[in-house]
Amino acid sequence: MHDDLNTLPPALRTLGADLRRAMLQAERRASSRRPWRPRRRRGLASAATLAVAVTVAVLLGVGLSGQHGPLSNQVPVADALERAAQAALSAPSLMPGDGQYFYVRSEGTELEGGVGGVIALETKIVSRWISADRPNVSESRLVSVYYPTPRDRRALGSSQVSPLPSPLVLAPRHGYQIGEHLLTRAQLLSYPTSPRAIYERLYADTRRGGRVFAEDHVFSEIAETLSGDPMPAALRSGFYRALALVPGLRLTAHVRDSKGRLGVGASIVRAGVQEEIIFDPATAEMLEERKVVVDPKRAGLAATPGMVINDTTYLGWAITDAAPRGTPLRGAGTVVFCANGNRGSCHTTRGGR
């Protein structure tokens, strides 16, 4: 079995790419003749897997929506991404002016590992201020730690240190990052917006970096850029369309993030782990990124299938005039946009915390 078109003989590779393109076009033509209607969700993982997943989800506050088999729950890729691409063009602008910061607030869970395969899952709330011409700033607050087994707690419990709250200057560097590059504001504004050009640039970056599964990395780069960096509307729109070009991308309708918000999941599976982003096609908002173990052996993790090992839920974005200096944020700037219509999830209004 071969997961990668690149390992096939050249003729099969060409044929595969031609078939893929033709099928997408045919599907797009067909879907343009009927209203978009995602398929009903069906078939979760086994009861045991689900039980573990739900346990983890409840304990961590992680909204695991279940395993996505390779052939289930899927909707036409082009439809949901095209809707998001269109929505991005009319969404409020999130492009900072000169001297301003792009602010993003998120809640995330990460897998921490130790010797002997012991693990712990740490949940943190993170605020980041990103600037094109000043040092980027990050503030992290530990919310909870979950140990899947007593052994994990014994091994890692004593080593957990709460770092709260300590704003941290990430690096003396600054700039808006796309792929491997830190861009100035002018460079970001002149970045090509064509989906093919975006895809090829990101692909070329990952190939230069010596990555074997370059197409998988393109998915990750697009996901990170859509969620964590500012972009002009046309570029944001182009990124959603570029996502449709990622080979093996799967879309899943009616996925809820850990805050209960409904979106569409776009995912790939690599090395035993499913990487998924959840976005709202009606607003082009990124809601969540997460990684779920589907094959622990292949992933090299002492985890259970279905376990969320990493997720980041996006709570809000804003343009601010300043960033904190060694103390928690005390109202800096004006919120122009918040995730979920500012319904209890975005806390960065003027004078807010």
């Binding site: 096939l8 050249p10 595969g16 890729v77 799967r250």
Partner: protein
């Protein structure tokens, strides 16, 4: 449940090479095998709504069933009927030298041809000539018939019988005679 183009692309990425070997070992011709792979997946897409299985295993079994049907059709007609490929507007690519080498290697066609040569030596002259013209020289059945001075139906029957005889000794092309 039916499949999407993404499902079929994924199945292609994972299984096209195996299906290529399956077809190459039965046709002994790399370019025909590539065409059959293309037609198989194109047909899977055209009939994607008809898939009633659940999961990858049943999907790939369904794809193999299509491939077997395309192979049978190829042996009946003597050429690949590209109906689904044409419907999608896809033309199979011309093979490069490296493609021939790679496919020969993947499907172990060299050893298969060695067995075939031994098997051919054991055939009657009439059957051997029919096979040589059809398989080695890749002549169309009307040409084979003309060359042998027999009807096209007889030419097809000789090729079919010869393949059936070879089948007894050559595991790698078993199934060919059933479709010839």
């Amino acid at each position: 449940m039916g499949l999407t183009s993404e499902d079929i692309s994924q199945l292609y990425a994972r299984h096209a090479q195996d299906i290529l070997c399956y077809c190459a070992r039965r046709t002994l011709q790399a370019e025909i095998a590539v065409e059959l792979v293309g037609e198989t997946f194109a047909e899977a897409f055209v009939h994607r709504a008809d898939f009633r299985g659940d999961g990858e295993h049943s999907a790939i079994a369904w794809i193999y069933a299509i491939a077997r049907g395309r192979l049978a059709d190829y042996f009946r007609r003597g050429q690949v009927h590209r109906r689904a490929l044409e419907r999608l507007g896809v033309t199979p690519p011309d093979l490069l030298e490296s493609d021939y080498e790679r496919i020969e290697e993947l499907a172990a066609l060299a050893s298969l041809r060695g067995q075939l040569a031994d098997g051919l030596a054991a055939l009657s002259a009439g059957h051997r000539d029919a096979l040589r013209l059809r398989i080695v020289e890749e002549r169309a059945y009307p040409d084979v018939a003309r060359e042998l001075g027999v009807s096209e139906q007889t030419a097809r029957a000789r090729v079919s019988r010869a393949l059936r005889v070879l089948r007894r000794d050559i595991v790698g092309i078993e199934g060919v005679a059933d479709h010839a």
